[in-house]
């Protein structure tokens, strides 16, 4: 029983990281209707910058730099590339971001080489005991940070002009434009915030218990896609709930792998997708997504 409890706890903390990534997907999708394949490489870029600079700068300045660089990279992608093709269809936009992803991942992979960088995070490899279950300290912090981020985002959306503009633009871009809201700025800022969130997630994804910064970290970001889809494409609460569900599903299926051998090895890699397909079968717009309305 304590095993189950520990797995769920671990899952929730992993889910918190997925939630950060999924929030970025939602943000970009709401603002620009783009399925952003480059999100993973932005995440990797953030982690890479921290890995390269933390020796010289110390961890916290390096972290700040990593977040800024990742946010800037996302803004540049939007302003330099995506802005020119706003009206293009979903498939074209997605493939464009894929092109960007290929470029970034190739360069980062080359730079990373075979050496494994570490983030030099102060929480190191320590673990904490929560009611008898041992959890990596980094994951506990990840969960706390996610909670704070979600709270801050919520407050931004409720109380700031930027948040109101963002929500108005996402709800009805045409009308928002008529009210003088600058859609391009809203879009760029959404990409920037998503990039920053990705960098934060990147730090936790490359902290203990994972070995360090490797090119495959970008691919891990894709594991947040089921979380995003599950919650509903345009729902911030959905991204958080979806992230937590996928986190728990992942750790549970890894933890009970031994009892589920008939389902094959590496079960944890597919259960998120299986859960996602099941949910979509029952709720085609995800758990919290806006339903499509047929119009004539």
């Amino acid at each position: 029983m304590s095993n189950l409890f520990g797995l769920v706890l671990n899952g929730l903390s992993l889910g918190a990281i997925y939630a950060l990534i999924a929030l970025g997907f939602v943000m970009i999708f709401k603002a620009t209707h783009v399925l952003n394949f480059a999100h993973g490489s932005v995440l990797l870029l953030g982690a890479y910058v921290v890995g390269v600079t933390n020796d010289a700068l110390g961890f916290w300045p390096a972290l700040l730099l990593g977040i800024v660089v990742a946010a800037l990279a996302a803004v540049v992608i939007d302003v330099v590339i995506m802005r020119r093709v706003r009206a293009a269809d979903l498939g074209t936009l997605a493939i464009l971001t894929l092109g960007v992803d290929v470029l970034m991942v190739t360069e980062l992979t080359r730079r990373l080489g075979t050496a494994t960088l570490t983030t030099g995070a102060p929480w190191g490899t320590s673990t904490v005991d929560v009611l008898g279950s041992s959890i990596p300290l980094s994951r506990v912090i990840a969960a706390l940070v996610t909670a704070v981020v979600v709270g801050v985002l919520w407050a931004l959306f409720q109380f700031t002009n930027w948040g109101i503009a963002m929500r108005a633009a996402a709800a009805d871009g045409g009308t928002a434009e008529l009210m003088g809201i600058r859609l391009n700025r809203v879009a760029a800022s959404a990409w920037g915030v998503a990039g920053a969130l990705a960098a934060v997630a990147g730090i936790f994804l490359t902290s203990f218990p994972s070995p360090g910064i490797s090119p495959t970290v970008g691919l891990v970001a894709l594991a947040a896609i089921p979380a995003w889809v599950l919650g509903g494409f345009d729902s911030f609460p959905g991204a958080v709930v979806g992230g937590l569900i996928i986190g728990v599903v992942t750790t549970l299926s890894a933890g009970y792998q031994g009892d589920l051998t008939f389902l094959g090895r590496d079960l944890a890699q597919v259960t998120p997708y299986a859960v996602m397909l099941l949910v979509l079968l029952i709720r085609p717009s995800g758990l919290f997504g806006t339903k499509e309305v047929a119009r004539v």
Binding site: L35, A87, A88, G91, T92, T106, Y273
Partner: protein, 379 residues
């Protein structure tokens, strides 16, 4: 669409020329090129299926690799040696195995239709992404069928004792060129590509093709015109899956051995890249896009020593593999930035400006049409 007679004649001549060249190529090409060409042909067939699905019926799919895998593994299983200790098979004649694999993929497409029929746009795209991961998981774990991690061999293709993979019957020589496995497979590939292309073109201009195009543009209008929308959407998925599988069979034949690793997210996304840079919905665009995406890395790797800049293996710097990825990424970004309706759209525009110049001023200017898009999908 009707074209002026001169344009149509030019087109026909061009097609005949391409076919003749393609038929003659094995006489001159070396093995590397033949093999690369065959890879491209396999991709072309599958990509045609995807462009029919995405461009004609408006259903975005990131799950194409799953159906390609069903084709490849289906063929290997159906044609495989029943007595093999590792991954056994049914030992069917290769032709039947090919047909069986294609039908199996169609069936899988039909089984997925309860999901594909309910979802639209990005939801469908990412749900189908789930298929790829599920599929790969099965490939890794259903060892008796698939050989697991190590994959399994593809039974050589043969028809009435004439093998397309090795030299039986011996000593087939054309104009002094020994026709071995690759040369023979080349013609099988050409035949399959030709049939696939022809069928797709026919479909697009037919009753089902028009029904799908109407569904793409407005499901409401299609329904009101009497089209059974869910059924046609499912049918489009089935047809596309069968194309994917046929490409998969050819892929298995060219590789000779297939492993689960190949049929992942990368392959699915590559197919989408092919049809997007070719121009979504254009059969010709899918052919060009597939050839480009398949051949580019192969050629770059092969001729990397001719390029300056490149570092030798082992040293730091840009390797040939890196360079081919960078060119791939750049090509995607640049093509879509400057022609977001893909190469087919670019071709149409160039063609019309050429015609305009040729006809002189005053000829009707065909405005650039929006390429058939998945624009509606995002709603």
């Amino acid at each position: 669409m009707s074209r002026p007679p001169t344009t149509r004649r030019v087109r026909t001549l061009a097609i005949i020329a391409v076919v003749l060249v393609a038929l003659a190529l094995p006489l001159t090409l070396r093995a590397f090129w033949l093999q690369s060409g065959l890879f491209a042909m396999a991709a072309v067939i599958s990509a045609i299926g995807l462009t029919l699905l995405v461009g004609r019926s408006g259903q975005l799919s990131l799950g194409h690799a799953f159906f390609v895998a069903i084709g490849a593994y289906g063929y290997c299983y159906l044609a495989g040696d029943p007595s093999s200790p590792l991954a056994s098979g049914l030992g069917l004649p290769p032709v039947l195995a090919l047909l069986g694999a294609v039908l199996a993929a169609g069936l899988a497409g039909a089984l997925f239709s309860p999901i594909s029929g309910r979802l639209r746009g990005i939801y469908l795209g990412l749900a189908s992404l789930g298929l790829v991961f599920l599929g790969q998981h099965i490939l890794f774990n259903a060892v008796p069928l698939t050989g697991g991690y190590n994959g399994r061999n593809a039974e050589p293709f043969s028809l009435f004792g004439f093998s397309f993979s090795d030299g039986t019957p011996e000593g087939l020589t054309v104009l002094g060129v020994q026709f071995g496995g690759l040369e023979r497979l080349w013609y099988l590939g050409l035949l399959l590509v030709g049939v696939s292309w022809w069928c797709a073109r026919n479909l697009v201009r037919s009753r089902p093709g028009r029904a799908l195009a109407t569904i793409r543009d407005s499901e409401v209008a299609a329904g009101v015109m009497g089209v059974n929308v869910p059924r046609y959407k499912a049918a489009a998925f089935i047809v596309s899956s069968m194309y994917a599988a046929l490409g998969g069979v050819l892929m298995a034949l060219v590789f000779g051995r297939i492993v689960p690793e190949s049929f992942g997210l990368t392959m699915s996304v590559d197919f989408l890249v092919m049809i997007v840079i070719g121009g979504i919905g254009s059969v010709g665009g899918a052919v060009v896009g597939a050839a480009l995406v398949t051949l580019l890395p192969l050629v770059l790797n092969r001729y990397s020593d001719l390029l300056p800049l490149l570092a030798q293996p082992g040293s730091s710097g840009i390797s040939a593999a890196d360079l081919s990825r960078i060119i791939y990424g750049l090509a995607i970004v640049l093509i879509l930035l400057f022609a977001h309706d893909g190469l087919a759209g670019l071709g149409r525009r160039l063609g019309s400006s050429f015609r305009r110049n040729a006809d002189g001023p005053g000829s009707p200017d065909r405005p650039m049409s929006d390429s058939p898009t998945t624009k509606e999908l995002a709603r």
